[in-house]
Symmetry: C4
Subunit: 286 residues, 4 copies
Amino acid sequence: MDIRPRDDAPRWQRVAYRVIFESDTRAGRAFDIVLLVAVVLSVLAVMLESVHDIAVRYGPFLRAVEWAFTGLFLIEYVVRLLVVRRPLAYALSLLGIIDFLAIVPALAALVLAGSHYLLAIRTLRLLRVFRIFKLGRFVGEGEFIVQALKASRYKIMVFLTAVLTLVVVVGTLMYVVEGGQNGFTSIPKSIYWAVVTVTTVGYGDISPVTVLGQTLASVLMVMGYAIIAVPTGIVTAQMAMPANSAKPAAPVAPAAPAFKQAVCPACQADGHRPDAAFCWHCGQPV
Amino acid sequence: MDIRPRDDAPRWQRVAYRVIFESDTRAGRAFDIVLLVAVVLSVLAVMLESVHDIAVRYGPFLRAVEWAFTGLFLIEYVVRLLVVRRPLAYALSLLGIIDFLAIVPALAALVLAGSHYLLAIRTLRLLRVFRIFKLGRFVGEGEFIVQALKASRYKIMVFLTAVLTLVVVVGTLMYVVEGGQNGFTSIPKSIYWAVVTVTTVGYGDISPVTVLGQTLASVLMVMGYAIIAVPTGIVTAQMAMPANSAKPAAPVAPAAPAFKQAVCPACQADGHRPDAAFCWHCGQPV
Amino acid sequence: MDIRPRDDAPRWQRVAYRVIFESDTRAGRAFDIVLLVAVVLSVLAVMLESVHDIAVRYGPFLRAVEWAFTGLFLIEYVVRLLVVRRPLAYALSLLGIIDFLAIVPALAALVLAGSHYLLAIRTLRLLRVFRIFKLGRFVGEGEFIVQALKASRYKIMVFLTAVLTLVVVVGTLMYVVEGGQNGFTSIPKSIYWAVVTVTTVGYGDISPVTVLGQTLASVLMVMGYAIIAVPTGIVTAQMAMPANSAKPAAPVAPAAPAFKQAVCPACQADGHRPDAAFCWHCGQPV
Amino acid sequence: MDIRPRDDAPRWQRVAYRVIFESDTRAGRAFDIVLLVAVVLSVLAVMLESVHDIAVRYGPFLRAVEWAFTGLFLIEYVVRLLVVRRPLAYALSLLGIIDFLAIVPALAALVLAGSHYLLAIRTLRLLRVFRIFKLGRFVGEGEFIVQALKASRYKIMVFLTAVLTLVVVVGTLMYVVEGGQNGFTSIPKSIYWAVVTVTTVGYGDISPVTVLGQTLASVLMVMGYAIIAVPTGIVTAQMAMPANSAKPAAPVAPAAPAFKQAVCPACQADGHRPDAAFCWHCGQPV
């Protein structure tokens, strides 16, 4: 939804919008950088306060810093609401919600003890870091990565479903094999172990002890080894694809050598090319 | 083997087959999704019951759910047997066996205590999840991944043999080097360690302690580092290969192509299936 | 060196050579497979004997099996020496030495207690497994992988040198940072830790405890993350390269965009193309 | 800055410069190799002295070796300062600083106890190892890797920023979820854990214990699994890109090319350096 102020909006509103929401002016870029520094500093304050030794010494100072930033972000949030054409649309957008969540915990901490730690979600504001990639030469590069991931999203979803299924099946098997012992105390925990293993993280907080369990784990590891090739292959193939590959001369898209779903009405064979006019098996029209 | 009911089979049988086994009708798709949800829910019930705290509280309820699903799957299995042309062919097919195994453990639990846990193999029914990829736009994507893995299968087998040999040789060496101590208590255990290491999982349940052992382990790790490039390279090269790269100028394709190389003698179209008997474009024999 | 028997050698010698050393006859293939099974079985026997529980029960039987295989391999070794034209050339070849080492430990065990475990090197005979790839359709596939690795060997050596340097520098740094404690008890041990970390194995037997150490470790891990892309990229790029890319039309090899080493005599600029005739900087002949 | 001695410098100075700084003469290559061996030996001495058992026995000898190398490097450093045209420019260059740092700690150890361990930074001199890649056939290979990484540097920076943000957000979340326990005692420590996890290192010194924590960790691991595809994809795509892919038909290269895109207006040659002022082929301005 278009949240830009109308052309007949007051001048201050249009200027403020330009500075706060856009980054194609000098002032806009400056605002972005100031905001970014503020976000990083406020996150740093929350982080440092969580360290016991630092909290003991500098606690009051850090809390003051947090309150100052909360105040600043509150003002910023109100101004954002004021300058947009549709305040509700902004407030309900992803960035709007994140901006809101960055203020709430501190305010909630006034009433509710402990909710203070929810300041942690302020870190989500770090996502604004990616605005700086709109500045200068990173545009194309960031775009390139996002584009490649976007183009691969269905393949990656299929892949993740396969991994998920594998992990559930193997996790359950290991629960049975290890007999609910050696850390494999429940199926969900065994699945957690399978994820830790297939992704090659391998904490070692849970690890198989029985001979059969170790054998099964070895098979899973080697499979994980071969499996890791798949997402890499997908993304790489996407990235290596020449940018101008979408020329009309290529009738079949290189990414998806899909087959026609319908079976041949004459011989029931399936697996036809998407553009097939005749059955590859019996030669009848499909 | 063709398990579709004959054309002269009763109408209800042909309709039921269409709904249960195919997914190209509205009812067929709905059945697939209902079945999928049932499988996921029944697996979830088995999983939750394995968690001690949950079993104590909701045990009876979860067991009731499991029995309900077992009943449903039993009915489904019988119906499947009834509607196919050759019940035995279906019962002995991979999916048929999995469908059968999903019911048996619960029934066996009536007679045999403990066999209840074999419900775990019900998770194998999750493989039916992949049926949903037959719905909609995932077809080509899933096909693409499977195709690339299929075309790489011989290379991956050679690679896995090399890894297996490496792991046996290094595992045995480590057993000798560490002197049957520090967890390297037998050669199979040392091989298990070598698998854990070369796949970069690294639980740390067994790790070398002697200087020579740590040196040997370092060499293995760096090798594993270089080795991991191989399956990735294989799959990626396969995926990056343009679908229509099979131009006549290349007499020997560097990797197994998904399509028949020859062009149609009648219309010169290429991109035929490897087992095509007729041109997909003009219908002439190829 | 040519070890094939002369054409005027006795017929039995030429036939035996064909069977034992080659695999292009029916008998040759059969011999290879029998030998392979024997190697796998003998390795299995050594492996099983190392497991304490099994050794207690089946120790005498397993030792008998080992002796039987040692006898067989001894006979095989002697026959190999008899049928080749130059016995010494075979005995000093890599495979010849491995074949010899597979017999020696068992014989040495007669005199020297403990040397029995050296049977482990018999596993090296497993390398003969790769002979089966000479049978059938694996030829091209295995060749493909070996070829890609061979073509990448200089790049991989450069890469490994870089990793080695990184690991020594970071390992030494960590030794100083962690102050010789928390497992970082010496520089070699710290380097071992760095290898475990940069390869993403991560046993956890040694892990940083100080804040500075954990920060440095984080940097190393993220670097390892980016670094792992390099060997994968090298091998993949090699594999994805079309087999017939070496056509005369391509004057500059795609793999090495090397620059001319000499500096321009006029302006001292370097970084010229290998085939440059003029300086890119000042336009003078180079 | 040009640090080569002037043409009217004394002959000994020009010859010494040639030997010490260049490697295109026989003496220069010999000097490089001797220096390399000296660096490796001196680093080895420092390493060995850090091992307690070795230090107890060979301490005095190793310290003598270190002093000998320190003396040699001091002499070498002074000679380097003497032969260059601008000693300050060399002293302030990266290699100059490293050469200086390699001597200082040993000298400082005379005054200050403990600073002895700073000899560790002498390992940085190992970077000179890469000089040997200027010798012979490694030139192009090393150049190739560096070039590919250079061309990918902006993409890798974007990627690392994304990983950094992810790690901060997830680390903070885990701190809240695990409630400051189970090793997640502060946000920085939780971020350290997130780095260990997302890079698939997985020491296991800190690992989630709560159900929610393990679930979140599983998601992070699977994401890390998919994420690792990105840098690999970037570097591989860069490496797989044919060197002469810059055909006039492609107006915007998808990734930064190593060579200037424009063809020479005089002779139509392409493949110029990005900063070329003259054609490498015909010498005309480009």
